[in-house]
Amino acid sequence: MSEIVKITPVREDIMIARFAALAIGIHVIESLLPSPIPGVKPGFANIVTLLVFLRYGLEAAAWVSILRVVVGSLIVGTFLSPTFALSFSGAVLSLFVLLACAGFNRRYPAHGLSLFGIAILMSMTHMATQFLVVYVFFIPHNALLDLLPVMMSAALIFGLVNGYISQNVSTRLDMSRNHVSHDTLMPSDDRNKIPGNQLK
């Protein structure tokens, strides 16, 4: 007789789900907007990731970002399609950049990056990754390289815009720190100590 595994969501899970829902909403609305060049879009959903990072740490931000890409693609209907491959690889690589930024800020708290700088780094990483995946797997043609400057300009501009927005939102949410000097990545041992956080 098989045992029924019941997972009770803890506060943190519900919080992540809510932020992910917000990010998915933005993601889906954005995918409906027409774009002059395929692959260029504002990426406002990353604002949610950045704010979650600032407030709840890297792990929560990673959850929100990955859930956003997977569920967003299920809703739009691009799951496991090339579009999905692009946004997934972009999201994963930019999360690694976020990890690096968190490390940098821990090490040099006095000169730490604010969400502004992090947003630019993440958006440019996302675009570069996307471009690399397209070039290597989907359209390995040199003519594609002519698009690279335009794509990266778009990434820079939207990075600046998103960074500005998230920095301002974070200030208004009274998280008025100039830079991210902490990283509340919670070790899994500590997570399990939270009552109700174990699998039952």
Partner: protein, 121 residues
């Protein structure tokens, strides 16, 4: 909103990267290096475009006078009625092309980056 020093560095590097991409991928094509002259459909001369000279090429009807100067080449005159070749003027980019069909003489510029694969008239 205050930017930290690292933010400023990131913004500066971002602009630097994007502008270097434009420089790297969107720079104007290099000009041609060589002039190939075809007579009756066969390669008759291969000349350096940066050696100024005037050359007379014997075609199927008569002599075409061709000038090479500063990496450019043109027909000065040709024994044809239409003078399309003369009026097409200086050719300077890789892939550029001028021809005098009645005299079966044509100029092809090679080297640099080809801008066109082919041109239809």
């Amino acid at each position: 909103m205050t930017l930290t020093r690292s933010d400023t560095v990131v913004v500066a590097l971002g602009f630097l990267l994007v502008s270097s991409l434009y420089w790297g991928f969107w720079r104007a094509d290099e000009s041609a290096a060589e002039l190939v002259i075809f007579v009756n459909g066969e390669k008759a001369y291969i000349l350096d475009l940066f050696e100024d000279k005037k050359i007379t090429v014997k075609g199927s009807v008569g002599d075409s006078l061709i000038e090479i100067k500063n990496g450019q080449a043109r027909f000065i005159s040709s024994p044809c009625n239409t003078s399309f070749c003369v009026r097409s003027g200086w050719q300077m980019h890789g892939g550029d092309f001028a021809a005098c069909l009645p005299n079966s003489v044509s100029l092809h510029l090679s080297g640099g980056t080809k801008v066109y694969d082919a041109i239809n008239f």
